[in-house]
Point group: none
Chain length 333, copies 2
Amino acid sequence: MIETPYLLFLGDAPDPLAAKVAQGIKDWRPEFAVGQFRMEGCKADMGIPDMTLEDAKAAGCKTLVIGVANRGGVISQAWKKVLIAALEEGFDLASGLHNLLREEPDLVAVAEACGRALHDVRVPEVDYPIANGIKRTGKRCLAVGTDCSVGKMYTALCMEREMRERGLKASFRATGQTGILITGDGVPLDAVIADFMAGSVEWLTPDNDPDHWDLIEGQGSLFHVSYSGVTMALIHGGQPDALILCHEPTRAHMRGLPGYQLPGLDALRDLSLQIARVANPGVQVVGISVNTQHMPEAEARAYLAALETEMGLPATDPYRFGAGKLVDALAAI
Amino acid sequence: MIETPYLLFLGDAPDPLAAKVAQGIKDWRPEFAVGQFRMEGCKADMGIPDMTLEDAKAAGCKTLVIGVANRGGVISQAWKKVLIAALEEGFDLASGLHNLLREEPDLVAVAEACGRALHDVRVPEVDYPIANGIKRTGKRCLAVGTDCSVGKMYTALCMEREMRERGLKASFRATGQTGILITGDGVPLDAVIADFMAGSVEWLTPDNDPDHWDLIEGQGSLFHVSYSGVTMALIHGGQPDALILCHEPTRAHMRGLPGYQLPGLDALRDLSLQIARVANPGVQVVGISVNTQHMPEAEARAYLAALETEMGLPATDPYRFGAGKLVDALAAI
């Protein structure tokens, strides 16, 4: 287990979106997010106290969590200096990066010398089976998106919180490093070997009570050419009963792919349903979750209202306006 | 990259089917198949010269390829003796077995001492990039199937041979163990980490001459819940200009999934096109490849004729009746 509370390391995050790991911890486990450590040029801010390593130590932080994601994932020399100082100061390190802490000889050496732990939450630690496609008991809801990073994890977390407040049986099922850092377990799906992806999702969402909902964290997008295979495995391994469509209306192009436009929500609905029916013919699209963080409130509300009319589905920004509509729709299945 | 030509190791193959890797090399790269090494009791025969290790060395062989599936997943002591002698004689070893050469301490020790390479083609040996989706020069054709193991690799190999005979520029691009051993190069896609699947396919099929065709070996099926994520990554990483639909008409259910029926070729066409257009809006379905090995010839020909009418596409069994129709269709793009 990773020792809490945390000092959130934001590094030199090029934009707020790059720090979504830190943001997730701050939003969903605020009691763990004691302080943040930012380097020169950092464009992210969690709105919590900036701390030196010494400050954080004095405030009781046990682990420095790398709260910033990087495409492809290289641990830079600029980061290294801070990470080594943190180990020497007595912090454990936790990371969800592709490039593992445990594969950096200098970090390993210092961690050993200081008796500190290196947690790579991205590394699968289970021998997942190959998916067998057999229908499981209990119900499953999966968030699918028009793009990466449009709020699929937040949607599932918001719905879990709302469902638990209503006394419903619900479990957020983490499939990414942020979710795993938040909940303490899950499947680091993007690091799983191709043949075992769908099987790992079956493993993550086993038989359950008939009235229990797994709220599966989505990954990637069927329309994002870099990661669509991961999304496909989530749909076929998760065999969802319900899909939530996720969207971010101000995105100019697919994340990281300047030549690619976002699909419409109707295209997402149609393709997702077609694919999900292979594993679960009864699957339904129950609602739309819109990340409206870049829209003024009046504009966001107008956008959602128009979307409900256009798509004939409940639409909300669950983080901003609550997940009630989505949970109502789920409960009606 | 595996050094060629090969000495094909057939070991103590209990029947010809056990030596299907060797058979594939002999069929598709006869120039690599210089000789065969058979042990006592071997029931397979490639119809090429039996050679001692010394003979094969003198004939220019660079690599001993394990062309036979082993019993019980163990590399037997009887094999070991030959493999060690081969390393000492100066051969590299190449294998697609589940049990890795590199996990056999004696082989590793001898290979190191002799400066020879151990190629386990099940294991990726390249740090593949994350897919960037940028349009590449040259053309690409991908075989997609209604199910796994319906003849996608043979379809691509048949087309490559036909195209080369016509003086067209064509390269078979291997994405599975057998294909990699046949050609000496490729991506073991089902063993690639999820996030890098599509990137590995981009890496495999780089910029090329405008009139050059990559014939990409397909994997899995969009309709096979265990492996559909791999297929998805092939489509989006490969950004094919042309798709060939592959089918095996006598299959009772999806391979390994008794509860799942095969989709129709029309469903395969529609879903594949929809997905492939994300990466390449100009993609076309150009033909149908049917594995008719379990049908008498007259029945096979009637089936193909009916299919051509029904689907409005050229249909053939390229292994049985030639790939001419498919290549004609490709050349017409």
